[in-house]
Symmetry: C2
Subunit: 209 residues, 2 copies
Amino acid sequence: MRGTAQRQDIDHVTDETAALERRFAFLAEIDGLKAVLRQNRTVGERRRENSAEHSWHLAMFALVLGDHAPGLDMGRVVAMLLVHDIVEVDAGDVPIHGAYDAAALALVEQAAATRIFGLLPDAQRDGFLALWKEFEAVETAEARFAKALDRLQPLLLNTLTDGGTWAENGLTEAQVMARYRPVIERGIPGLWPFVEALVRRHYRGGATA
Amino acid sequence: MRGTAQRQDIDHVTDETAALERRFAFLAEIDGLKAVLRQNRTVGERRRENSAEHSWHLAMFALVLGDHAPGLDMGRVVAMLLVHDIVEVDAGDVPIHGAYDAAALALVEQAAATRIFGLLPDAQRDGFLALWKEFEAVETAEARFAKALDRLQPLLLNTLTDGGTWAENGLTEAQVMARYRPVIERGIPGLWPFVEALVRRHYRGGATA
């Protein structure tokens, strides 16, 4: 009896250590998100933003603007935003204003998700994969809110950095409205008039009416 | 009646717009956290980590290691970690291995918290201030877990960057154990043996026994 109990103790410790090895391997691997550069620039230094600090900023957007999306599970929204770009460690960031092959990108990102989340113990891997897929599918209210914030944050940065990616890509006010409005309005219906005024103020230099 | 109803509508819209102006001013201001550099280096690029990407990494540590702190309100832990360094926009980062005047720093950080969180509407300001104070006071189980992660993340980075700040500051294995163990063990009691083995492996080059 005593021998069996000891063996079970050792198995338990071994399993727990193995799970921790996998968790720490994942936490080390995702450090790579700090080296993935986006097109947007930071407000103060005007350097390109990386996807790790972008993810932090988005999570703060969720906490600050949560009142505008009543009834959502904000814990799931925040978790979704924290993990939504992790596939970019392998796949890189794809700028919204560039041309790309959506089907090819989806394959690359799925392979990245399988590899990176696969570093974790199985149950945890499945939980993070489900969060990432929920964000990508945009079928739940939480994912629609999260996607809206993922458009809103670079929009705010662009208005604070002399037009940012809009200026770099020569976008008109109408093009900006067309690219940002549907996603923001779908996820945070009541917020669009305020956001539209921000864009208009940027393009027309102070006129908000 | 109709006039009064219209006036109330206008007041409501005006109040909501004023609240949004404050929320967006806050979201723009905290972009500055991306320009606050810590002593730790990132794994791939070996550049100094900034406090925004550090905060994202910490929130991921909480999601991944939450099982090791059963019974906690993980939503509050994650929110606490997302906001815990925002005062550094004004106060800067204070390295753990340097000398500093704790009382003077506390005053500077309190002024920073008052100014930055004060950009938000009052109720939201109070909520974020309470989260930040909870982290600083380290009296709740959630704050103890969050503080432990705030020690654990740079520890992991140091083991992945040739000793990082330990090497730069000439710290011995015993000094590292003394500085990290109490905070990590207090917040995540069961995790210390695994973490101790990480540190030992770093200093002794593979010997984990």
